[in-house]
């Protein structure tokens, strides 16, 4: 019997269709109802953010001093703020910035972390000790206070090719990325250390595969499951951090709205317009909760052993 014959036999024996990796994960993910709900909410939020210029009822930056601090009215469904700007429209445009910051910080931070972690774990020796020392050093820097200082001193820096209104967004993304890569780096370093000693890596080396290719094609794909989970949880976390910094006034600068800086002035009007505090915070909370649910669902779906 030849190999070809065996193959034909095997195909005849196969009764159910082979499932792709993606379908397996999707089938498991679907069972997690809350994760599914989270995904739907995130989908909705992203659509609102993308379509904001089309669906927003008003200009988010238009100041109307006559219509200050209005409660909900037929014209302004969620009322107006202290400068008479429409809260609903601002919420929609804020979604763009908040989600953009959340996604881009996570993608850049994960990429940087994965890169540094993989190099440290794979090459070991002095490369690893230098990178680990650097990682330790970054971890001793005080988190929130440092972010506040960075936000403060870099607030006025102008970035080439970026309009003034958005330069604080770019700066915030850079700050959060440069202070947020340590988690994924540590994670990937650990994964690579254990993968490195396995037989398939040895086999690759024996076949003469280059170090770079081993890292890109074998190490990182094998460590992908926990990276995806940590990234999903990370988006939610980054949105909360961004909103916190913007709330304190050290993040995205007004008038560019984000969910965080919309809450900046609510305390002054707590007596007259308490409703202003509700929706921006609700948006942050719902988004962060959705990403947490989705991350949890992905963890179950991608790797049942990772169960926490």
């Amino acid at each position: 019997m030849t190999v070809a014959d065996l193959d034909i036999k095997a195909q005849a024996l196969r009764t159910t269709k082979e499932e792709s990796q993606f379908l397996v994960v999707w089938r498991r993910f679907r069972k997690h109802k809350l994760a599914l709900l989270g995904m739907i909410i995130i989908g909705l939020l992203v659509s609102v953010a993308v379509l904001a210029p089309v669906i927003a009822p008003h200009d988010p930056l238009q100041v109307l001093m006559k219509e200050r601090n209005l409660g909900p009215t037929p014209q302004h469904w969620l009322g107006t703020d202290e400068l008479g700007r429409d809260v609903l429209s601002r919420l929609m445009f804020a979604a763009r910035i908040s989600l953009l910051v959340g996604f881009s910080v996570t993608i850049l931070g994960e990429a940087l972390g994965v890169f540094i972690g993989a190099i440290a774990g794979y090459f070991g020796g002095w490369v690893d000790s230098i990178l680990t020392r650097f990682l330790d050093f970054m971890t001793t820097l005080p988190g929130l206070p440092l972010l506040m200082v960075l936000g403060k001193v870099l607030a006025d820096v102008s970035i080439p090719f970026v309009s003034r209104d958005y330069s604080s967004v770019v700066i915030l993304v850079l700050i959060l990325t440069l202070t947020g890569w340590m988690g994924p780096a540590r994670l990937v370093r650990g994964m690579v250390l254990s993968l490195k000693s396995q037989d398939f890596t040895e086999a690759c080396r024996a076949l003469g595969v280059s170090d770079w290719r081993i890292i890109m094609r074998h190490m990182i794909p094998n460590a992908m499951a926990p990276i995806i989970v940590s990234a999903t949880l990370g988006v939610g976390g980054n949105i909360v951090v961004e909103s916190g910094l913007s709330f304190l006034g050290f993040g995205v600068q007004l008038p560019t709205p984000t969910w965080g800086n919309m809450l900046q002035n609510v305390q002054a009007d707590m007596w007259v317009a308490p409703w202003k505090a509700f929706y921006p915070g609700l948006a942050i909370f719902l988004t962060s909760l959705s990403f947490n649910f989705m991350g949890d669902g992905l963890r179950d779906a991608l790797d049942p052993r990772l169960k926490m």
Binding site: T140, L144, G244, P280, G281, F293
Partner: protein, 347 residues
């Protein structure tokens, strides 16, 4: 072991030095004029003469070149000699206990006095909140792990999701609206919206008044800790309960309560040591958000105000102490681990 710890301590001192250089450079190179930048921008009658500005710079000690500024900030300028003698002053430097004087927030006040006036408020808030969080999180986490998949477990797990996703400042704002404003509007007993203690009123400064002010900030601060620590305890306990020695303990006929409390809990709580030590180290920064929302006059609020007003000496001293605390905490954890888990050996 001892040599290992000494080596680690020396490494950490180096790390600290690096991080002070980093932070100092960041503040002083990005905005070298500090509060003077505003004066320099002013025009017309508002404008001070260049001479006056130069004098101000000398008084604030920011006329020196950057490297010298850093060295004198760390070691003081009362020993300067030779080419630097003209910068000689009276400051003793951070390492010799002189944290400088505030530039803007409380002009001329020693920074250390500002810290002393605020630290007890922070300790009160952080202490109450940490205690409350541990007292609730540990038993709930353990119970939830022991009764995995029960109704209570589902409830607890969902609660941790809410707690972790909740932005502290928004939760604080909502509480203020409900318990301070709405309750007052509805004629119910209400809580003060902020501050540590009332300035006026019949019971200003009394114990009851202080407790009333403490309630909302403590709940806001505890929510995140409670959620995180409950989840941590639960997963640590689940891990331990699967171990062979727990099965052995059950197999030899011990009652469940002893198995849990004597055998499982001891090992399950080791990771919690890390969290609690770091939470103590977080005394400076852990409450920035909460203190800002509730106008709680503690260190976090002090830092926020100092940073807003370009008060570099205050900001620098704060960041330095924060870094020292984190370093001390990580050394303490390494040490504590060898005590609670004899299997861990450093060499």
């Amino acid at each position: 072991m001892t040599t290992y710890m000494i080596r680690r301590a020396l490494q950490m001192i180096l790390v600290l030095l690096l991080s002070t250089i980093f932070i100092y450079a960041l503040l002083n190179l990005a905005n070298p004029d500090g509060p003077l930048s505003g004066l320099k921008l002013a025009t017309g009658k508002q404008r001070m003469s260049d001479n006056d500005i130069a004098n101000m710079a000398r008084i604030l000690g920011i006329d020196k070149p950057f490297t010298l500024r850093y060295v004198t900030w760390l070691l003081g300028d009362d020993w300067l000699f030779g080419p630097w003698a003209k910068y000689k002053g009276t400051s003793k430097g951070l390492l010799r206990g002189d944290w400088g004087t505030s530039w803007a927030l409380a002009k001329g006040q020693p920074v250390i006095m500002l810290f002393e006036s605020r630290i007890w408020n922070t300790i009160l808030l952080m202490g109450t909140s940490t205690l409350l969080s541990v007292l609730i999180a540990v038993p709930v986490g353990v119970y939830s792990a022991v009764k995995q998949y029960s109704k209570l477990d589902y409830f607890v797990t969902s609660f941790t999701f809410f707690g972790i996703a909740m932005p502290v400042f928004w939760f604080g704002l909502l509480m203020i609206i409900l318990f301070a404003y709405k309750f007052r509007e509805w004629g119910l007993p209400y809580l003060p919206p902020g501050d540590v203690v009332s300035l006026r009123g019949p019971d200003a400064g009394s114990l009851l008044d202080r407790i009333k002010h403490l309630i909302m900030p403590t709940i806001a601060l505890s929510l995140l800790n409670m959620a995180g620590w409950t989840r941590y305890t639960r997963s640590a306990m689940l891990e331990v309960l699967r171990q062979d020695y727990v099965r052995t303990a059950r197999a030899k006929g011990l009652i469940e309560r002893i198995v849990i409390t004597k055998h499982a809990l001891r090992n399950g709580l080791i990771p919690l040591v890390t969290i609690i030590v770091f939470s103590i180290a977080g005394i400076f920064s852990g409450a920035i958000m909460t203190e800002t929302v509730f106008n709680w006059k503690g260190l976090g609020r002090l830092y926020y105000e100092g940073l807003m007003r370009d008060d570099w000496p205050l900001t620098m001293a704060y960041l330095f102490i924060q870094a020292v605390l984190v370093v001390v905490a990580s050394l303490t954890i390494e040490f504590l681990y060898t005590v609670v888990d004899p299997r861990i050996r450093y060499s």
